[in-house]
């Protein structure tokens, strides 16, 4: 494979037309090529592209395809992580511009965290990456997150969705505790809750009155889009 690549003429991103560059960036992001994504993002910005358009037409679109192939078992966890990392490089350039403009069209804001007593975070991190890949602003509270920490983050970030994760049968009831408290505060109406984690299933999600259960990271991102009304 290395041999074939060295025989090919080197691809100069700056020489490509806008359309070809966007196509190339989608391939590069799928292949987890960080520096190329950063370079491509820069070129499009220099050519006067709107940051929102770069985000949606190249980065988010590429991550959507990554998500589909991940869900279908064609791509695997390390590849998804590489793609998400490649996207980060582009996002670092776009984020300040997006934040400064008032025409920001993020898909939505999501607060996520692994619940109190639980320190497992690989699945939760994957979900965070796929959500970012889908264009969401993600506020990740990390592991061992208490009710108060969730409430504080909800107050601060005014999210469209709350996501909770647990890997243990002993810690998963805490998701129900949080949801119950939100219900008492009459906050559930405006804040759909998604839950996930190895022992979690639809039945449990129903029992604790969660709005949605995400069986894997890619499906979770798609469900989140449906919840905020992007998937119709």
């Amino acid at each position: 494979m290395c041999l074939t690549m060295s025989e090919e003429p080197e691809l100069i991103l700056a020489d490509l037309s806008d359309d070809d560059l966007v196509e190339q960036m989608k391939d590069d992001l799928y292949d987890g090529m960080g520096p190329e994504i950063t370079e491509g993002t820069k070129i499009l910005l220099d050519r006067g592209w709107d940051a929102n358009r770069i985000l949606s037409e190249s980065l988010v679109e590429a991550m959507r395809i990554v998500g589909l192939d991940f869900a279908d078992g064609i791509l695997f966890v390390p590849e998804v992580l590489s793609a998400a990392n490649a996207m980060k490089g582009g996002m670092e350039l776009l984020r300040p511009i997006l934040a400064a403009s008032d025409t920001q069209v993020s898909t939505g804001r999501v607060v996520i965290g692994t619940v109190k007593g639980d320190i497992h975070d690989i699945g939760k991190n994957l979900v965070g990456m796929m959500l970012e890949g889908a264009g969401f602003e993600v506020f990740d509270l990390g592991i061992n997150t208490s009710l108060d920490e969730f409430l504080e983050a909800i107050d601060k970030h005014d999210p469209h969705i709350l996501g909770m994760s647990a890997l243990l049968t002993t810690t998963m009831p805490y998701m129900g505790v949080v949801i119950e408290d939100l219900e008492k505060r009459n906050m559930l109406k405006n804040l759909p809750v998604m839950i996930g984690g190895a022992p979690v299933n639809q039945e449990f999600a129903d029992a604790v009155k969660a709005n949605a259960y995400g069986p894997d990271a890619a499906t979770t991102a798609e469900l989140a889009k449906t919840i905020v009304g992007v998937n119709r």
Binding site: V77, L81, I143, L168, T169, T170, T171, N201, F204
Partner: protein, 300 residues
Amino acid sequence: MARTVLTSPTKEVVIGFDQPFVMIGERINPTNRPKFSKELGAGNYWRVKKEAEAQIAAGAQVLDVNVGVPLTDEAKIMEEVITMLQTEVEAPLVIDSSVMAALESGIAAYKGRPLINSTTAEEEVMERILPLVAKYDCAVVAISNDDTGISEDPDVRFEVAKRIVNRASDYGIKREDIVVDPLVMPIGAVNSAGKDVFKLVGRLRHELGVNTTCGASNVAFGLPNRHAVHNAFLPMLQAAGMTSAILNVYDEGLVPAIKAGDMLAGNDPDCANWIARSRPKPVAGEGGRRGGGGRRGRRG
């Protein structure tokens, strides 16, 4: 030299530095298995029995028993499953739960010396689990994480394990009854996961003098062809000095790879176990061995 002795009424299995690697079957576990979960919740344990027998036939010396189904009375299920299993199979059992009441009911129902899975170095967890281990004189898996989470630094994880060993000794629990789980991270997310564990296992064995175990199947989470990864990982763990693992004995080629690993590590005198399991079967019509009566118990 650490010898962790696990027993059932009729069988003893020793985890130790000079012993064959102890394969603990992981399949009695309903996580991500909706049918299994539903059956356990309904008090229907046929699949537990089936998995127990099949895993022993595949080579498991010990069985991990996890009956964690959300929204059920796990303590009651654990007690019933342990009691049922001990009438059906001889293998010693690992009582695996994150629910204190289920560990208690499982231990109380168990005849012999089980392995308890698990304690961590979290203060609250040690305060609950260690007195139970001491009271029933059993062995315990010690997972090397604490209140601050799982450190990515193997040296920190070593110190965490050491803290559990020291705390356990305050309760009168011997070092040889602590089997440290150095925590295997998915290699797909943490690229140094393999070499971190190999390094840590060596230190745990040589500096702390404890037996070790791990949930081996975690390493290939999210990767294709997982069983081939397991087949490479386990012999590497054996070479690093690990003495047991919770694993999937159904993985094709895994049990023979571990048995060969025992032999190569010098824990199979005269290669007897290896030969016994690998000797070509006599072809029909031709005779088998011409002498001997089957190997008798060794003298002395």
